[in-house]
Symmetry: C2
């Protein structure tokens, strides 16, 4: 079997691709803008371009690196925003890519490259990457939560991405926190995502600004509040921002507790831009809340760690997806 | 390998035992009162008595049944109230059995019988029984919820009881519904158990009686309200009882939705005395709430069914636990 696979991380803004060996070493890594506004087919073509360029780039390395060509690529893995059907290889719909409705990504890329292609949800693939090559290395059962505009997650059980019957398992952002709580983008009420995502934090901060509360933030439009502003305000001990974020992180901990009662992970990996920017003291707010809200037997000895692969989690996870797909493990 | 195992269901009131073949056929079934007030050792001895009597009873069957003796018993499975440590075979503590603290059940029964013994939480073992021989036959990934005084549950993933890192996974009664909600027995707030168990329903009905609301129920003490009274009141279209129970069943559905986002089961099995007594219309309250509160892709085509083994779920599940334990599958 050829030693390499290509991992692709398809995002609304950019497409990343890497040629990856079995140990998670990236022998090349390329990036292109997605240009999502041009519609599905141009984006699919750009995915194929990224694959080809990643392979070419890996072939052009130092002399001590063996030449890698398409023949050395065993398969391709793709992490894509969803919802998607991983078995059929179809992106059903995604707010991040305008005009995408039932797009047969896997079929298109397989035809264009002649390789087996495997696809799953981008965040779940990222959690798989962290489990294989990042913060979760060697851990068999873990959950990962990524706090961004929304909250994405993934569940690894016995070393594999848990997909469940619908292949949609691991939608951790839609864990209920307050069944009569704020509306979520999914249409429900009081989901974790509606209460502890960056968007939820910004909304609450903006409300306080509008209400005339004393804070270093001046924006009344939540969309204008950046991660940078929030982290600066935290450093300045701004009460409004500190309180809003503490509440949100406590709620994140409660969600982790609730999920842990179901899954009982050995490790909880937490990532995403806003979390990456937090100091350890704020991270402890999450951990302490989770420990306080869970049955001690479930939470004893559970490790809480930061995601460690940054933006490489996607391509590395996609490489694992490709390998597991080939061996029928996934 | 001998063809039979013994399944034991240890309860606060009674101990049930059965000799069970590989297809889930009980060739004998015996019951003794637990007499929990006599303390741990007498109860352990009664478990051993039940095992021996179940084997003797199976040996005394009709002429066309082959004689079964202790030599034909491959292993013993026990479902016990928890919390417990299934690996060490220790019941850590349990409110149902006074004086039980770190009781080495497995070791005791192994010494007394000379057989391998496997133990897990009674409700989880019951879900395993339903999966193997009851409502969930042939279904690989499912969740089970049993509504009683509390709410117990279990998660089956790929045909096995999911235990997770702590071996305590599947504590579905402690799924969060309302993070600022009513106190739960576990010390947290707004758990499913605190809001949708029989106890929670009775508490709310009693409050309404005290408040002078018009209802056929007369009891102001929640402990005096029986399942029979509640079901009779439902039949009489009693508004107080109907409203309280509808709210509780909707909340149960919300809990199922939240859990399903994590696990994505193919089937949801619902049981327990109060649920068994509900008509199909009230069962639909649970199903409709779960479907309304979950992402459609997760909940599409999920089957909602009633538990079908009644009080035999425990001994049958314990027999599966024993067999899986022997083959290292569990």
């Amino acid at each position: 079997m050829p030693d390499y696979v290509v991992g692709i991380d398809l995002g609304g803004t950019k497409i990343m691709g890497a040629v990856v060996d079995a140990k998670g070493k990236m022998v090349s890594r390329v990036m292109k803008l997605t240009q999502a506004e041009r519609g599905p087919v141009p984006v699919l073509d750009r995915i194929v371009d990224v694959i080809k360029e990643a392979v070419s780039a890996s072939a052009g390395g130092p002399a001590d690196r063996k030449r890698i060509g398409m023949d050395n690529i065993a398969a391709i893995g793709i992490g894509s925003p969803g919802p998607l059907d991983p078995d059929k290889g179809i992106v059903v719909f995604t707010p991040n890519l305008p005009g995408w409705r039932d797009i047969h990504v896997v079929e298109y890329v397989e035809k264009a490259t002649g390789k087996k292609v495997f696809m799953d949800n981008d965040v779940k693939v990222g959690v798989l990457g962290e489990q294989a090559f990042g913060a979760g290395r060697g851990v068999r059962t873990l959950i990962g939560l990524f706090v961004g505009t929304g909250i994405g997650g993934g569940v690894i059980i016995r070393g594999k991405l848990h997909r469940g019957f619908s292949k949609q398992a691991g939608e951790l952002g839609h864990t209920v926190i307050d069944y009569k709580g704020p509306k979520c983008g999914c249409g429900q009420s009081g989901c974790l995502e509606a209460m502890a995502s960056r968007q939820a934090m910004c909304r609450k901060i903006a409300e306080q600004v509008k209400a005339g509360k004393e804070t270093v933030i001046r924006e009344t439009d939540p969309m204008q509040i950046t991660t940078r502003m929030m982290v600066d305000a935290l450093r300045k001990k701004d009460k409004v921002v500190t309180d809003v974020m503490t509440d949100a992180l406590e709620i994140l901990g409660i969600g982790i507790a609730s999920i842990s009662h179901v899954v009982s992970p050995e490790m909880v990996i937490i990532g995403g831009g806003i979390v990456d920017a937090l100091d350890d003291e704020m991270m402890d707010v999450i951990v302490n809340s989770a420990k306080k809200r869970a049955l001690p037997l479930v939470m004893d000895n559970v490790k809480f760690v930061r995601a460690s692969l940054g933006e490489d989690a996607g391509v590395l996870g996609a490489s694992v997806l490709a390998r597991q797909g080939l061996t029928g493990e996934r």
